[in-house]
Structure formats: structure tokens, C-alpha cells
Symmetry: C2
Subunit: 189 residues, 2 copies
DNA sequence: CTAATTTGCCTAAAGCTATTAGGCAAATGC
DNA sequence: GCATTTGCCTAATAGCTTTAGGCAAATTAG
């Protein structure tokens, strides 16, 4: 019989696509096997288990998102950088809701250490360089930006702003504007 | 044989407790049956299915959280109200992580309509009365507050601020402060 | 206070997911 | 062309979900 050509790489990518189609929670080893028209047990030569699959999808999504954000930030500073960062984040979540959810999957500390998590933190701090914040304000600001963006995107994906005015895009712009003003006000004199 | 005295009410409450102990995602009809020392099939006289159980826990959590927020807001206005709202929200999530997660469970529109969701929205708007915002700014502000608080609490529960300085409480205070300033700046002259 | 009815929990069974063990055939190396 | 490695398979166990049908306990009626 002809082989399917499974590899951990291909399974991870297909898992990410599956996540976008059916939701990260619904990503199962069985569903993935069906997609490759292969028996479930066959995947266990390439994946330790279900948790391993999800972890790999999470790492993949974190890298991909970090790459996008890095592209968006290139050559920008100040409010421009803030808006680019915000949009990169939100656009990724809307294009790839399953991968976005994967990127929020809780990793064990050792795995988190080798993930793109650190790049994300660095890029957030890079944006704040435009606002002259000193510690501990800078850390507070990092946390605030992470909270607003993640919170907004989660609520939007959960349908929280559907069928209501003004539309989600307008509020997003208002919020980015407000955050820029807020950070300028917090600047160390 | 002696009966266990199952009711939909008791199952929902026990489900909420279970959620706090093992996480909302891990709440299963089987686990709940074990907790009552009863066979799984027995629960199906009181619950339509697993989804029904989760929906009931979600509605319960939404009510409970709304009650807490209402208590916290009583007699307060302005920044005081904002801080009380924020703390009620965060404290609930830390005391009852499973219920908090349940409160974010996506409900179908008909169920959402009879949930305490509307009370939450009203209370958020009530806080903004202290800041003289007119539409559409008020709606933008409602969305922003929801995003920041939900985002911060999710990140904190996911362990995002563990083992790092300054501690989560300090950033929370800084953020509430900043939001108060932001909203005052946005006031309609 | 017993008889009829309703209600509550049980057993049984089928279907889906996760995971492990062991086998045969295809691909690869010599 | 033969030996080895590798890849996908079958088989089996275990847990969760859900439905169907049964018996006993609680409730109501006579």
C-alpha cells in the first residue's frame, strides 16, 4: 500500500489549518488522521500524544505571529509602531482564529523558554521606546498593552461586537488612539 | 437503594465548584456523576447533555459575578466606582477561575438574551456616567474597559505575570489609574 | 393504610477519542 | 538482489457521551 508521507512538520501545519477551521479545542489526533486518510495509531510515530500536537501548533503559531509583527514594525516608531503592532495582532487573530487560540495555549516553562514568547515581549518593549517610559512604568505598560489587545481580540472573536454599532474597527482605532495618548502622558519628564 | 437527591440546581452548583477545582474545560458529565457517587446515565434526567451543563454553569457564574459587581458599585462613583468594578472582576476570577472561564463560555443568542449579560453591560455604562462621555465614545469606552479587564485577568490566570516584578497587583493599580486619566481626558467639554 | 402512579437511578449498549503493542510491507542502504 | 529500517496497519484497552428500557422508591389517590 502507498504511504501517506506523514512527518511531524506536516502534521503540525495541518493541525494549524484544522484549528482555523474547527477551533483549536476541536483539534484532535483523530480528526488529523482523517484529514490524511490514515489510521489514528499511525500518527503516534510522529507525535508523542495529543498534548504534544497542541504544543507544536502553539509554537508554530507563536513564531508565525512574531514574524508578522516584526514585519509590521519594521521601520516604524511612535504611534505608527503602536498601530502597526495592534493591527498585526488583530489581523492575525481574524485570519487565523484557531492559530491565535493556539498561541495562547499554556506551555510548560521549559517549552515556553524556547518559544517565540520572548520575541513578543521584546517587540512590545521596542514599541514603548517611543514613549520614554522608565521602569516600572514600562513593565506596567507592557502588561496593559498585552491585556487590551488580547482582551479586545478575544471579545471580538467571541462575537461580542457583532450586530452592534459602532463597528469593531472604529472602536479599535479609538482604543489605539487612546492608548497612544495615555502612554504619552505617562512619559518621564 | 437510597436516592442521591439530584436536581438540576445542585448539579449546576457542583459543576461550578468542579470547574474551580479542575478547570471549566475539564468539567464533564462523568466527573460530576463521580462526585455524586452516581452512574453517569442518571444525570441525563436532569441535564439535556454536556453542553446544557456548561451553559447552566455559565449562566450561574454570570449572575453571581453581576451580583458581586453590583454590590461593589453600590454608593460609588467616578474613579472609586471604576476601581471597585475592576477589583470585583479580578477578585472573582482569582477566587473562582473555573466560574470565570464559564462566564466567558459562548452562549447561543437566545440564551445570552436571558443571561445576566445585559446587567454587566449596564453596570459598565453606569461607571462611565462619571466621565461625561457621549456616544459613540461611550461605546468605545465600554469595549475598552471590557477588553483591558478581561485581557489582564486572562493573562494573570494563565500565569503570565508569575515570577516577575513588579507584581500583578501593582500593574493592576497602575492600569486602573491610567484608565481613569484616559477617560477624564476623553470627557466631552 | 394500601394501591396506583410517577419519578429517580440503574444496567446495557453503541459510538467517538486517546493511547499502546505488535506485525507486515515499503523504502533505503549495501 | 538482500538486509535493514521505517511507516502505516490491526488489535485491544480505557474513558467520555448519549440513548433505551427496567425496577424500586417516593408520592398521590382511594
Amino acid at each position: 500500500m502507498v504511504r501517506a508521507g506523514l512527518t511531524t512538520e506536516r502534521l503540525t501545519r495541518a493541525g494549524a489549518e484544522l484549528a482555523d477551521e474547527v477551533g483549536f479545542d476541536q483539534v484532535t489526533v483523530s480528526a488529523l488522521a482523517r484529514r490524511f486518510d490514515v489510521k489514528v495509531a499511525s500518527l503516534y510515530s510522529h507525535l508523542k500524544n495529543s498534548q504534544d500536537l497542541k504544543t507544536r501548533i502553539a509554537l508554530f503559531a507563536l513564531e508565525e505571529l512574531a514574524d508578522r509583527v516584526a514585519d509590521a514594525l519594521a521601520g516604524r516608531a511612535g504611534k505608527d509602531a503602536l498601530a502597526a503592532f495592534a493591527d498585526a495582532y488583530r489581523d492575525y487573530a481574524r485570519e487565523h482564529p484557531g492559530r491565535y487560540a493556539a498561541a495562547r495555549f499554556r506551555l510548560d516553562p521549559e517549552t515556553a523558554a524556547v518559544s517565540a514568547g520572548a520575541r513578543h515581549a521584546q517587540m512590545t518593549r521596542a514599541i514603548l521606546r517611543g514613549y520614554d517610559l522608565t521602569e516600572p512604568d514600562q513593565t506596567h505598560a507592557v502588561r496593559m498593552l498585552g491585556s487590551v489587545f488580547h482582551g479586545y481580540v478575544s471579545l471580538e472573536l467571541a462575537g461580542g461586537f457583532e450586530h452592534s454599532v459602532p463597528d469593531a474597527q472604529e472602536s479599535w482605532a479609538w482604543i489605539v488612539d487612546s492608548l497612544d495618548a495615555l502612554l504619552r502622558n505617562r512619559a518621564t519628564p
